[in-house]
């Protein structure tokens, strides 16, 4: 009960608070201090942010010298909550026997949840660091194999992260 205040706000003010000026001076001093503080703004197009391996950017297919790792099992397509992935399988004479004839990710639908990467048995689809996703038309937003394949060397951070934490 001790912290119940009586009277109105203005009745509780003392003289110096009521003439405002000292309080105004305090406020001005505060903003002046803020003024000389350094800013942490990044000048975007010139200074780009390099995400760490834990960043979930645009999903991509891992490409090795012999071609993509993907065996077209279709699990990513099955698990995708946004129905963004379409895979059509075909046969190949390689050891892996199957490869994706068509692999499309609709970036207009992708929600960057990372389920495709989590479910993939071959570590063939991973989330990259690419966050600059701009498309001039809806058609451009549907990425085919030509845009999805990324050399494995560029994805080392993410692959290491997945091996360590998954």
């Amino acid at each position: 009960m001790a912290n119940i205040k009586t009277g109105t706000e203005s009745q509780r003010l003392n003289f110096w608070e009521r003439i405002y000026l000292p309080e105004i001076a305090k406020g001005l001093a505060l903003t002046l201090r803020q003024m000389v503080k350094p800013t942490f703004t990044r000048q975007y197009p010139e200074e780009r942010w390099e995400p760490t391996g834990s960043y979930r950017g645009r999903p991509v297919l891992v490409q090795e010298e012999s071609g993509e790792r993907c065996v077209a099992c279709g699990l990513c397509s099955r698990v995708c909550p946004a129905l963004a992935i379409e895979v059509r399988a075909a046969e190949t004479t390689d050891d892996k026997e199957r490869y994706p004839e068509l692999f499309e990710i609709n970036m207009l639908r992708c929600i960057f949840c990372g389920f495709c990467e989590e479910v993939c048995p071959e570590e063939a689809i991973v989330m990259s660091k690419d966050y600059e996703l701009v498309y001039g038309s809806q058609e451009e937003g549907i990425l085919g194999k030509d845009k999805l394949l990324v050399p494995v060397a560029q994805l080392q951070d993410r692959l290491e992260f997945l091996r360590q934490w998954r």
Partner: protein, 349 residues
């Protein structure tokens, strides 16, 4: 007045108007930079070095904008209001003594001021700022929009209330030097020390009323965006809006310059000391006059900075608080200040 004098004054007017417009453009930039620094941001830095051309880009954009006049608006007054605002703002610049005279042609000395020696200098300023109310009130009324009308009404009531205290604060200063002439007021301060040391209360009152007269925060009720959309300029677009905006900044610079003249010793370099004797320069030499000009501009710019600093620090007043402050606090204080000044002056003489 012969032709030479006329042409010189015309040239001065052209210089001053252009300088004022450029200054207003850079004040918009300064405002945005200061706002950014206070909010730990960077501010405009893309157009030109350090954002130096940002305001010009903005003005260029405003010229390209469609000039929309509401169908229900009174077209003539809608077009007239920004002209009154900017015209009045520019007129005040005629009496501001930016520098002492340094060029003599045909026996008449000229400085960077059009009519500083006008014997009703400060009265002209007060008269012109009162006319400035018409611009804003007309803008609000002719738009035929409730928000604009509320903004215009608030502006007129606020400016009329605060004008009174402003005039009374000025009277104390006028009593100190016994003249309405801005040059005489500066000379008195050069001899006796700056008025801010003798009249701190008058300075405070003048500063607060100047904030209210220029519709700056914390007195920016006429354009209180949370409640009135844009206030009196809600229905303005294109360069008409640009002119209203420009007039606001021109008024800030004008009131800062007037404050520097009345209270901070005008172009006096060091208070209580004889500047030219210390620096070893003749009082009317070109270097001395330029130094004094620099001092005057610096003082004005510092006051402009304080205006902006206050805007980004303090919240807006409520309407009843505004009226209480104006009529119940500032007016009695200003009257008491005059009485005390009068008594002290009488006793000293």
């Amino acid at each position: 007045m012969d032709l030479t004098q006329f042409l010189i004054i015309l040239a001065q007017a052209g210089m001053l108007v252009n300088a004022m417009l450029i200054a207003a453009a850079y004040m918009v930039l300064a405002e945005r930079k200061i706002a950014a620094w206070i909010q730990n941001r960077v501010g405009p830095n893309r157009v030109g070095w350090w954002g130096m051309l940002q305001s010009f880009a903005d003005v260029f954009k405003l010229y390209l904008k469609e000039d929309i006049v509401p169908a229900a608006a009174d077209y003539k007054f809608h077009a007239l209001a920004p002209v009154i605002s900017i015209g009045v703002a520019i007129t005040v610049y005629a009496v501001i003594p930016w520098s002492g005279p340094f060029v003599t042609i045909d026996g008449i000395s000229y400085g960077l001021a059009m009519a500083p020696n006008m014997n009703i200098g400060i009265l002209t300023v007060l008269a012109m700022t009162s006319v400035g109310v018409y611009g804003i009130a007309l803008a609000g009324w002719s738009s035929n929009n409730k928000y604009s009308l509320m903004g215009g009404l608030r502006a007129s009531s606020q400016m009329i209330s605060y004008e009174l205290s402003m005039g009374l604060a000025v009277i104390a200063v006028v009593m100190m030097s016994g003249s309405l002439n801005l040059l005489t007021i500066i000379q008195t301060q050069t001899q006796n020390g700056w008025n801010i040391f003798y009249q701190p209360l008058a300075f405070l009152i003048f500063f607060i009323t100047a904030l209210a007269e220029t519709n700056r925060a914390p007195f920016d009720l006429p354009e209180a965006e949370p409640e009135l959309v844009g206030g009196y300029h809600t229905e303005y677009s294109g360069m008409k809006f640009g002119l209203l905006y420009l007039a606001e900044y021109a008024n800030i610079l004008a009131s800062s310059a007037i404050m520097a003249t009345l209270f901070l010793g005008g172009w006096d370099l060091i208070p209580f000391l004889d500047d030219s004797a210390i620096l070893g320069l003749a009082p009317d030499s070109l270097i001395m006059v330029l130094l004094q000009h620099g001092a005057f501009v610096t003082k004005s710019c510092m006051l402009v900075f304080v205006f902006m600093w206050i805007r980004w620090s303090l919240p807006r007043f409520r309407y009843d608080q505004l009226m209480n402050l104006g009529w119940k606090v500032l007016l009695p204080l200003a009257l008491a200040n005059i009485a005390i000044t009068g008594i002290v002056l009488l006793l000293l003489n």
